[in-house]
Amino acid sequence: MIRVQTEDFSLQKEYDRLRQLSSVGAVVTFTGLVRDINQGEQVSSLTLEHYPGMTEKALSEIVSQARQRWDIQQCTLIHRVGELKLSDQIVFVGIACMHRQEAFAACEFIMDYLKTQAPFWKKESNSQGESYWVDARESDTTALDKWSGK
């Protein structure tokens, strides 16, 4: 299941859905939160812009690539857009598999590709009330290298 939404989400609710099948032995979740300091700035809030239509398409493509690589029993991907405050939840990836290695790999794969392929942009505001677009991190691009071998 893939959702792009302004509303917050409940980790427990998503987890309960992921673990339903009795074949599930491992659930890995990733949650991304608005951090207080980013690229040296004191962050007080965040606006997430996206490209409606392409966002959903890009996320579906990433999830289907993960499903081709690993035996995934259940997968949930949620990304919020709009205004977010410090410590708010931004993104959720939940993977349920028979074995842990697959669940870890699929969850990290989806985050790595989302970071570089899904059309979201963050605009942060700092404690002085200044707003600025966040720069893409080189380390997010190099993170993809680990998936090109398999």
Binding site: Y51, P119, F120, W121, A136
Partner: protein, 82 residues
């Protein structure tokens, strides 16, 4: 016609989020970019930055992608979600 969208910094710097241009025969992304850059110095500078990303019909693509009438082309900076 071709529908052109701009996002994030690119949109802010151009002051435009969407425009329509007539489609042309044998046009590709590169020639569309050249048409847009010819508008003025600001357009030329904003669209010349190294890290511009392009999507056609909501899929990432490269500069030599051919365009046809009805296509939706989007220009944006490297993505920063997650």
């Amino acid at each position: 016609m071709i529908k052109i969208l701009f996002f994030a910094q690119i949109r802010d710097q151009l002051g435009v989020s969407e425009l329509q241009l007539p489609s042309q025969d044998n046009s590709d992304i590169e020639s569309l970019l050249n048409t847009l850059k010819a508008r003025d110095n600001n357009w030329a500078s904003v669209l010349s930055r190294g890290k511009l990303m392009v999507a056609v019909n909501q899929s990432m693509c490269s500069d030599n992608m051919q365009l046809k009438a009805g296509d939706e082309v989007a220009f944006f900076p490297p993505v920063t979600g997650g």
